[in-house]
Amino acid sequence: MASQGIGASVLRNEDERFLHGRGQYVADITLPGTWNAAFLRSPIAHARIKSITIPDDLKGRVFTAADMTGVGPIVGISSLPGFRVSEYPVLATKKVRFVGEPIAVALAPERAEAEDMIERIAVEFDPLPAAVECLDARKSGAPLVHEQWPDNIVHQAEFKLGPFDEMVKKAAHKVTRQFRISRQAVMPMESRAALAHYDARQDELVVYASHQTPHLLATGLAKFLGMSQRRVRVISPDVGGGFGLKIFVEAEALVAASLAMRLRRPIRWIEDNLEHLTADANCREHRHTLTAYADNQGKFLAFDLDVVVDGGAYSIYPWTSCVEAAQCAGILTAAYDLPSIHAKLATIATNKPPICVYRGVARPGVCFSGELIVDAVARAIGREPYQVRIDNMVRPEQMPYSTITNKLYDSGDYPESVRQAVKLADVDGIRARQRRGETDGTLIGVGFASYTEQTAHGTSVLSKWGVELVPGYEMATVRMTPDGDLVIEVGIHSHGQGMETTLAQIASEVLGVDPKRVKVKFGDTAMSPYSTGTYASRSIVMAGGAVATACRTLAKRIAVIGAHLLQAKADDVRIENAQVIGPKGQVDFSALGRAWYLHPEDLPPAVDRGGLTVTEGYRPNPDSGTFSYATHAAVVSVDPDLGTVKLIDYVVVEDCGRRVNPMVVDGQVLGGTVQGIGTALYEEALYGPNGEALTGTLADYMIPGATEVPDIKLAHMTTLSPWTEFGIKGMGEGGAIAPPAAIANAVNDALRVLGVEIAETPITPRRVLAALAAAGKL
């Protein structure tokens, strides 16, 4: 058998069921007697609720905050100094604070009936001025989202690190720009979903939920329902995409769970697309003012960032709304050997939906402003932007490298990723073509963006972020079945990342088993070790490390039993291809399973009492995270008459250490990159001047389709992490980080001849034309 272990592009174990329509998502599960829930949501961004009138015939089928005593409010607390706590009621109490906030819920056998019932509830509002644009909401005198607060500042902080003042004095160049990143919806193809029921036999609340972090959801449900965690079980079956959306405790799930307990009836809520686009958590909305200080050659001396993140109306549990802005200082140095920074960070409450931590979290925003300022510096001093990048980057011989912001970069050759991208994007060819000009009047440009991505960061990092749930040792249980196959149980989740295959490959690497004979199970809190779940590009490093550790322990026990069956010494046997091989023969794993489970009379006297089931924990040392990195290059064509931007070419050169399954890695990079292209060019959750949601359908909120993206060129470098199992680095989010910056830099390169720059996403024709008009070039 060719190696099916680490490094093999093994076809995925999970594909078979999906290809036959046999995936099982929450909406596919029906329990007898289920009532479906429809939520009445606020049409107004900010208002007092004067009255709610429910027709008599709907009583007992429609519920409001008055029925939710003891449920919630949802409170996400950060221990960062000065953080202001918001109380997020599961159904609105006296006020509504965003369009889409749930006010009441109706239950009926069919969703359509429940929606009919919602239509008959009358709510009288006393509208209040809304805080909509976060920069306005920060000002004194702005409408207060939480009237008990003195202002709308959820959290703010300031950092000055390194010899900042000295560097500023030394600088020959000072370049300042303002940047805006639009608000986005995450838009997984499967929306949020929850189906709750009470299991009387177990005296247990069971919640099926579309979730990346089922254990964390169970903890949150118990907390906000006032139940013991012993009585709460969460099952996340197949999940149709997560991307950071499905990692918090949603109000709707709490309402469904509380009503399921109260009515002793399964309650199901399936978020529809309108709810997702207008009422679910948003992400990404940043406002930056960034100044770069550089010497004559373009060597960066200092970055000075002022960032405001629109945190929406409430903090989610457990991540809070400030976890986005609070990361912006730490990641500001990016791939550069930067001696000093100054950063002011603020999270501002507005009358918009809460924010979540979408793929890349704060990085796409900081990469956008940071990499655009790199190009602005390069233009100011008349050098190729890629050369300025290479000159400023942390060099491989500096690894491991501690940034001025206290991140420990573990390994990599950042400049080489730029050099490879320059070649693949054919910069010389593009420059020649630019000199010739386009016959159709369009302008072409090439742009680069590089990033580092902290992945699989553990206790030492997250305990400083002030979040309530800090990951520790990641656990995996590996057990051999009586017929010699393996079952792996982990607390992370997989919703596209292929963990049912890649974790099996890691087991194969250690024990030589065929990945097809390894069943990887997750998603059920009753049948997996506790884990904070899948987020922060952590699962392959953390759960993979745990699986490897458990398999090694299992290997020792297997060797002892196998040696006994072979009448050899344990030191004289080895494990290969799911067999124990001794000096004079071999036994299959099936013989070991048979011996332990069915014929213990065949076991050696000194056998390990743990048998063929092993649970082990894993944490890299140090656990400060392993850093993947990449350089993206975009080639665009801009039509200066229409303002349209067309992607002609797109290149990714990435390094995520050892690739467990190169095919899966490619899929993650490509998928992330196309989401980043959406951020760059198309996606914008728009709100009107009074906070009204304007993008409620996929015709208004556009995500990239197959025609919007070119055949992306992908190249890999492989620099192992010195401190993870097999040198693996996390990489699930990375693709989404760089495209907004690379594409904007390419657009600005194209528009350079006109002296025009774009500094806002998405780069829509309207924005391009506005920038041209502002420069008098239209």
Binding site: L11, R12, E14, D15, E16, R17, F18, L19, H20, G21, R22, G23, Q24, Y25, A27, D28, T30, E110, A112, M187, P188, M189, E190, S191, D238, V239, G240, G241, F243, D272, N273, H495, G496, Q497, G498, M663, V664, D666, G667, L670, G671, G672, T673, V674, Q675, T697, L698, A699, I703, G705, A706, T707, V709, D711, I712, G735
Partner: protein, 157 residues
């Protein structure tokens, strides 16, 4: 309203509400949950099925419009040799991740390789413009369809 239709080769008679979508009918009444629903307005293509052999958005088709028609969902291709090739190519080209858009993608992909066996990559992308995928970035899907079309072409005399 009474409807009579063929669903995956099986004759069906049902009494449906006039407002019931074909997607909801298939999923809720017939328990065929392979047809997935995302946008409910005909944009994303997750619910694409075949009606009388042509791809249809089942979320914006009413169940009553399926009266006297032949309806085929992702569960109804187990004996279909073209779909068998498309499925294998989807797995080999990593054309699926979370699996949610996959049933609709497969129906569209089968339609492309059947109707346009010589389609180039640009045409494949154009034909895919009614099916959204949030995971793969489409490259694997385009590769899978190109590969399936080429295999099917090679089999023909």
């Amino acid at each position: 309203m009474k409807v009579t239709l063929t669903l995956n080769g099986r004759p069906i008679e049902a009494d449906v509400e006039a407002r019931k979508s074909l997607a909801d009918f298939i999923r809720e009444r017939e328990g065929l949950t392979g047809t997935h629903i995302t946008c409910e307005q005909g944009v994303c293509g997750a619910c694409t099925i075949l009606v009388d052999g042509r791809p249809v958005r089942s979320c914006i088709a009413l169940a009553v419009t399926a009266d006297r028609r032949d309806v085929r969902t992702v569960e109804g291709f187990d004996d279909d040799p073209v779909m068998a090739v498309v499925r294998r190519c989807f797995s080999e080209c990593h054309a699926l991740q979370c699996g949610y858009c996959t049933p609709g993608m497969l129906v569209t992909a089968r339609d492309i390789v059947t109707r346009l066996p010589n389609a180039d990559r640009a045409r494949i992308r154009l034909e895919l413009s009614g099916n959204l995928c949030r995971c793969t970035g489409y490259l694997g899907i385009v590769n899978a369809i190109e590969k399936a079309a080429s295999e099917i072409r090679a089999r023909r005399p």
